[in-house]
């Protein structure tokens, strides 16, 4: 077994665009769940909507920043539609509504109703919407190696998308950091614990929850954009499993922490890469073909998520006293 190759592959996940995409999405989910206590069980819906918004408007001829804006506006509208009927109700309702709403987005996307726009179940090929983003690259063409990492500067899965993606992640972290240590963030943390107490102090709980839902949703949509930039828009790759991966990332790093989502995303994808490669290498390939490895690693992630919530509910960075679960 080639350990060197395995480690390089795994290390590559640390800075991969996919890792950045999940970090962004998890930062958004952290605003929902970690800081406000909103149970959003359909985060992939926001991501897919962002991806569609960006890709479809680019294909229709929009310049990069307009397409970026479309992705954001789509997430805002989606958050409003989800929030208006549910945020006045108990928390569980939002969970149910978000699960189904995310599925609806995916099913609509893959249905043949809008094939012209979404490409139905085969999705949208990356080449059809990447050009405006690639054109923004200030990097010269060529290949750059930094340590073990060697990528083409402007390839669709190269340095430029990595730089842009992680810059976006850092910007999101900064914004969330500024917000949650502000009095606005204090109101959210109050709501997370006891809405009525916060109401009694004269704060419009509904408005705050809506703001949090919108902000987290927008970050999810941006995660979706980053996710599809180096690849393609595949509605079936952005379904329930993706939502659960984002949850795993968040809980692993630590909900209600600032850097938890980034750390969680890095550990998650490094671990996943190690698990996949070693399973591929170590398990007899006549029984465990690639078709079995994928669901098997999915099962491992599920078991891991359970163990995590049971044994370390605060995640890696969390403070046990400030848990977002009710644990003594």
């Amino acid at each position: 077994m080639d350990w060197q190759r395995m480690l390089t592959l795994a290390a590559g996940e640390l800075i991969a665009p996919q890792t950045a995409a999940f970090a962004l999405a998890a930062i958004g989910l952290n605003v929902h769940f970690g800081f406000t206590g909103l149970l959003n069980m359909g985060h992939a819906g926001f991501m897919l909507l962002g991806a569609y918004g960006f890709a479809i408007s680019t294909i229709a001829g929009a310049p990069f920043w307009l397409a970026f804006l479309v992705a954001i506006v789509a997430a805002i509208l989606f958050a409003l539609i989800l929030g208006i009927p549910t945020l006045k109700l108990r928390g569980d309702y939002l969970a149910i509504v978000t699960i189904s709403a995310a599925e609806i987005i995916r099913l609509l996307g893959r249905s043949t109703l809008f094939t012209d726009l979404t490409g139905a179940s085969s999705g949208l090929r990356g080449n059809t919407y990447k050009a405006t983003f690639q054109a923004l690259s200030p990097l010269p063409d060529g290949t750059t190696a930094i340590g073990p990492f060697e990528y083409g500067n402007n390839l669709s899965n190269g340095w430029w998308v990595r730089i842009a993606a992680w810059a976006l992640v850092l910007l999101a972290v900064l914004v969330v950091y500024l917000l949650v240590r502000s009095p606005w963030g204090r109101v959210l943390r109050g709501i997370r614990e006891d809405e009525d107490a916060v109401r009694a102090l004269g704060k419009s709980v509904y408005a705050y929850k809506m703001q949090a839902l919108v902000l987290g949703g927008v970050l999810g949509a941006l995660g979706g954009v980053v996710y599809v930039l180096p690849t393609s828009v595949q509605p079936d790759a952005m379904g329930r499993a993706m939502t659960f991966f984002v949850w795993t990332v968040l809980l692993l790093g630590g909900a209600a922490t600032i850097f938890g989502p980034i750390l969680g995303a890095m550990i998650f994808f490094v671990a996943l890469s190690v698990v996949r490669t070693s399973m591929r290498e170590l398990l007899p390939s006549d029984i465990f073909g690639p078709a079995q490895i994928e669901p098997l690693s999915g099962i491992l992630i599920g078991v891991f998520l359970m163990l995590l919530v049971i044994f370390r509910p605060q995640g890696i960075m969390g403070d046990k006293k400030e848990l977002t679960f009710h644990v003594r």
């Binding site: 500024l178 917000l179 502000s182 606005w184 006891d194 009525d196 109401r199 102090l201 006293k321 848990l323």
Partner: protein
């Protein structure tokens, strides 16, 4: 007690205090009596839970700038009435005004912003926030609570300093200053009660509504807090509180409203109302010819004794019925 010369003489040891309750002197002590300057006026408010009528108040006025106690046996509907007027519950029918404005269809947050701030019988200290953050959350006019302004610290830093200074001052007064940076979840039951009351005062409410504020608070501290509540009243705040502790009721209230089975059954100055047969009936059943205002009665043991008797009586009563 009150500066009311016509009121029944207060018992020995009861401190004589100046009070702004002179406005209520000579008022006819009957349920629903109009007050000279009411801040809260409740009309025909009814709240039913299935077949049970928890609150059925025909008319009730709460005088501005005085301390009004709301008493009554368990299940009388006191908390439900609080929930209704503060927008936490909806009445089956009825209306009320606060400070002249109709508040019947106003939600809890807006009611609070209008100046009617309440605490809860079952405390709602935000346990995963620090004591200081709990206090700060009670403050008003913090521009940093706006999402966009929150991003720019200079826009809210000064106000935050003012808020923190005020919080610290109140924490000292409520003997919680040494717990300032602890998570509120680590506080004892009595300390949580104190924290909740202090937090409610952060907004300088026009009227503060306290649901059993002193339950579980040690007597020495109760004394000093009662002084504080009186000071707040003297500065013009209106206080309405629910309390089972008759010492406290007698000690600081200017006016007492008695509820039983959802209705207001009696109103009046504390000394008078505790001698009212309707009140004694409500508390102790129909067969006692004692006066709740009697000082001897105020000894806890005696009250317990009486309550016990009442309970036994009631059980016997039920026993006969079934």
């Amino acid at each position: 007690m009150s500066a009311d010369p016509t009121a029944a003489p207060s018992g020995p040891g009861s401190p004589a205090m100046a009070s702004p309750s002179t406005a209520l002197v000579g008022l006819d002590p009957r349920p629903g009596v109009p007050k000279p300057d009411p801040i809260l006026v409740v009309d025909d408010v009814e709240r039913r839970f299935g077949g049970l009528t928890a609150v059925d108040v025909e008319h009730l006025e709460v005088q501005r700038g005085v301390i009004t106690a709301l008493i009554g046996p368990n299940g009388a509907g006191k908390t439900t009435l609080f929930n209704l007027v503060t927008g936490f519950d909806r009445p089956s029918s009825g209306s009320w005004t606060f400070d002249g404005r109709s508040m019947s269809n106003v939600n809890a947050a807006k009611t609070s912003r209008a100046g009617m701030v309440r605490t809860f019988q079952l405390t709602k200290a935000l346990s995963r926030m620090t004591v200081l953050d709990n206090m700060r959350l009670g403050a008003r006019d913090q521009p940093g609570e706006n999402m966009l302004a929150a991003l720019a610290r200079p826009l809210w830093r000064r106000r935050e300093q003012e808020i923190t200074a005020k919080a610290d001052e109140l924490l000292v007064r409520f003997k919680l200053d040494h717990l300032r940076d602890e998570f509120a979840g680590s506080l004892s039951g009595g300390q949580r009660k104190l924290l909740e009351m202090a937090r409610a005062l952060m907004s300088d409410p026009v009227m503060v509504m306290l649901d059993e504020p002193m339950a579980g608070v040690n007597p020495a501290l109760t004394q000093s807090l009662l002084g504080h509540v009186q000071a707040l009243r003297d500065e013009g705040m209106t206080v309405l509180f629910v309390e089972h502790d008759m010492h406290m009721v007698r000690h600081i209230s200017d006016w007492v409203v008695v509820m039983a089975e959802g209705r207001v059954v009696a109103e009046g100055p504390p000394e008078g109302v505790m001698a009212d047969p309707a009140v004694i009936d409500a508390y102790l059943g129909a067969h006692h010819d004692t006066d709740l205002g009697d000082d001897a009665l105020l000894a806890d043991e005696v009250i317990e004794q009486l309550e016990h008797e009442a309970q036994v009586e009631e059980e016997e009563h039920h026993g006969k019925q079934s």
